[in-house]
């Protein structure tokens, strides 16, 4: 489903971006099969987010290639990647990334609007999804009127509404307390089991990583440990 081949990434720092080169990813290769939950763990600053952003297409690797659904997406243009993401990849962010001026309902509906679906279908799917994440009573709430856990559920609902085969999550429970964290983790495992959604999840928390079927540990931009749980 997802394959990273020999990814290297270097940030150029300083003025005119030529002062110093900072290698954050070195020879990263791994693959995720359909229906897997892959957890990427590692210390802060080890390069986890950088790797995820490369797979998501938010930035280009210095070298190496990314394959998603048997397609080499490495050299996709911004527009191509946008269309590809809209159909195939959902996101769960640590800080939710909801649009503050839109209600929960509108935030969740947004991907469907971008897809250009007819209004009736949009309404149906948005309401269904709101129910799925247990927020049926929060249609008209703006993000600022929701708790962190509720916001994260809206964010997950926004991802779910297009039923993507892949979800990328960067510290999905990073800003939640342990109780809400468990709720979100249950939601993720449920989606994985019921809908067969493939997850690629970053965490520095071993507890969270436990729901994964496969784990990669990164240290200083290199994969130092790879394990498949039984």
């Amino acid at each position: 489903m997802i394959e990273a081949k020999d990814i290297n990434h270097t940030f150029l720092l300083g003025k005119k971006q030529n002062e110093t080169a900072l290698q954050v990813l070195t020879n990263i290769s791994f693959s995720v099969a359909k229906g897997d939950i892959l957890a990427i763990t590692g210390k802060s600053g080890s390069g986890k987010s950088a790797l995820l952003n490369i797979i998501a297409g938010f930035m280009k690797p210095t070298s190496g290639s990314v394959w998603v659904k048997e397609k080499n997406v490495t050299n996709f243009s911004e527009g191509e990647f946008a269309d590809f993401r809209l159909d195939n990849i959902g996101f769960i962010f640590q800080n939710f990334q909801l649009i503050p001026s839109m209600t929960a309902y509108e935030n969740i509906e947004l991907p469907l609007v971008l897809k250009g679906l007819p209004e009736k279908e949009r309404k149906e799917r948005t309401e269904q999804t709101l129910e799925k994440v247990g927020l049926s009573n929060y249609h008209q709430h703006y993000p600022s009127e929701l708790s962190g856990g509720q916001q994260q559920r809206v964010s997950i609902a926004r991802t779910l509404v297009i039923e993507p085969p892949i979800i990328l999550a960067d510290e999905p429970t990073g800003s939640l307390d342990s109780e809400t964290e468990q709720e979100v983790l249950d939601l993720i495992t449920g989606l994985n089991k019921d809908l067969g959604i493939t997850f690629l999840m970053i965490t520095h928390d071993e507890e969270v990583a436990r729901i994964a079927s496969k784990k990669i540990h990164i240290h200083d931009g290199e994969i130092v440990k790879e394990e498949v749980s039984a």
């Binding site: 938010f58 911004e78 993401r85 990334q97 001026s101 609007v113 971008l114």
Partner: protein
């Protein structure tokens, strides 16, 4: 993402910064108003001048006053008429011979004096003359009269102090001949000076029709249109050409005259005028056409209008700085929203479209409001300015004087200029929106 949803985005975005959008629309509207009002003066004066030059003449009319020759100039005779009528694109050539005295006409108990001409009816009809009443003459002693002939005859026993005209200059109804003239017998009295004695000669005519009044209602036509035979009758009595009266102080007035007095050519269409004029000038005809005079006037005004529109466009360009600012701020303010949308999968093109739609909408609103205001100002100008000029300089402006005029073409030009300028000024901010880096935009939010 369909148009309706983009529109929804634009609306909700605009609602969030109402006062800023309002000021931008206001500036744009002011620019458009300025452009239209400024240029409308050019359009207004132009059409006023055209109307002034054309008066009642039709645009296709050419006045042919003679033909140049070795001893100066010669009047147009039948020979030239035949040549003129053969010219390509010439629709009709009208010609008249003017009687060289003003006969007295009497009908029942009414009489009055008026100009008398011999005209060629077939060509007059071709040139557009129409009868308001009755028919064209068929016999020699039948005539038609101008529409205002009736206002020029008065009761014979009119008292000396009678007020013939009322305050508005209209003929007093009491003195007006109140029957139809068509079919009436009328006596034409011509005179001649024989050995210092005035002799009179009376010719009895029948009115068969009345000519349609000219388009311009202040033009008067009180003429009597007689036939060649009646003219011959008059000439036989006066023994002078065209019935001229001999008098001591004008001994030459009896000289032989030939040719026609009023010769007008009518082109088939306006496009043909210039070619005909060139042709006639080459053949030494002395011609004048309002249309060819209009041509140079038109080119002067076209340049003037273009200049005014150019100056007006500068106002819109200044307003476009506001649009550029507003859009740039909008993009900056919404950059995290844009980042999120892009992360979810919004194509950069869609984002660009949303912002272009917003700037075009501002432009369109400005153009519409600006046009409406310009219309109001134009009307006020046309009402107010003549009054100001009258009271300040004591000078009355001619009737129908139009200071400002807004033809549809001016609105079209202004709206198009406004839209082009606003779209161009919105391009850069819209492009910036597409270039927003997803990661940077999302990071800012943390």
């Amino acid at each position: 993402m369909n148009f309706k949803d983009q529109w929804r985005f634009v609306r909700s975005n605009m609602k969030r910064s109402k006062s800023r959008i309002f000021m931008t629309v206001l500036a744009t509207a002011m620019g458009v108003t300025f452009l239209i009002v400024l240029a409308s003066v050019g359009f207004g004066l132009h059409s006023t001048l055209i109307a002034d030059i054309l008066q009642d003449r039709s645009v296709t009319q050419m006045q042919i006053s003679g033909i140049e020759n070795d001893d100066g100039y010669a009047p147009i005779t039948d020979e030239e008429i035949a040549e003129l009528e053969k010219i390509d694109g010439m629709n009709a050539v009208t010609r008249q011979q003017r009687l060289r005295q003003t006969p007295r006409f009497s009908i029942d108990d009414y009489n009055g004096s008026t100009e008398t001409v011999v005209t060629h009816f077939p060509s007059e009809l071709k040139a557009g003359m129409e009868l308001a009443e009755g028919d064209l003459p068929e016999k020699s002693y039948e005539v038609v009269v101008g529409p205002h002939f009736i206002e020029n005859i008065f009761p014979k026993d009119l008292p000396a102090d009678a007020e013939i005209y009322d305050k508005e200059g209209m003929l007093n109804e009491d003195y007006k001949y109140d029957e139809s003239l068509v079919g009436k017998e009328i006596e034409m009295v011509v005179e001649q000076n024989v050995d210092n004695e005035i002799k009179e000669h009376t010719i009895t005519l029948t009115i068969t029709g009345i000519v349609e009044p000219p388009a311009k209602n202040w033009l008067q036509d009180q003429q009597v249109y007689i036939s060649e035979e009646v003219l011959a009758d008059v000439e036989a009595f006066t023994e002078t050409s065209r019935g001229a009266v001999i008098s001591e102080d004008q001994p030459t007035s009896g000289e032989e005259v030939e040719g026609y007095d009023n010769v007008y050519g009518y082109a088939d269409s306006l496009e043909e005028i210039q070619a005909i004029m060139d042709d006639l000038t080459e053949k030494d005809y002395m011609v004048y056409s309002a249309a060819s005079e209009l041509e140079s006037l038109n080119s002067v005004f076209t340049i003037a209008k273009a200049g005014l529109i150019f100056i007006g466009t500068i106002a819109i360009l200044i307003a476009s700085i506001g649009i550029f600012n507003t859009m740039t701020m909008a993009v900056t303010e919404r950059s995290s929203d844009i980042g999120i949308m892009k992360a979810i999968g919004a194509h950069p093109k869609k984002i660009k479209q949303i912002f272009l739609l917003e700037s075009s909408y501002i432009g369109l609103l400005g153009a519409v409001i600006g046009t409406v205001v310009a219309f109001v100002i134009s009307i006020l100008l046309n009402i107010g300015l003549p009054r100001i000029i009258e009271s300040a300089f004591g000078q009355e402006l001619p009737e129908g004087f139009q200071f400002s005029s807004i033809p549809p073409s001016l609105i079209l030009i202004s709206v198009v200029i406004c839209l082009i300028v606003t779209i161009i000024s919105g391009l850069k901010p819209a492009k910036r929106a597409t270039e927003i880096d997803v990661l940077k935009a999302m990071r800012r939010e943390m």
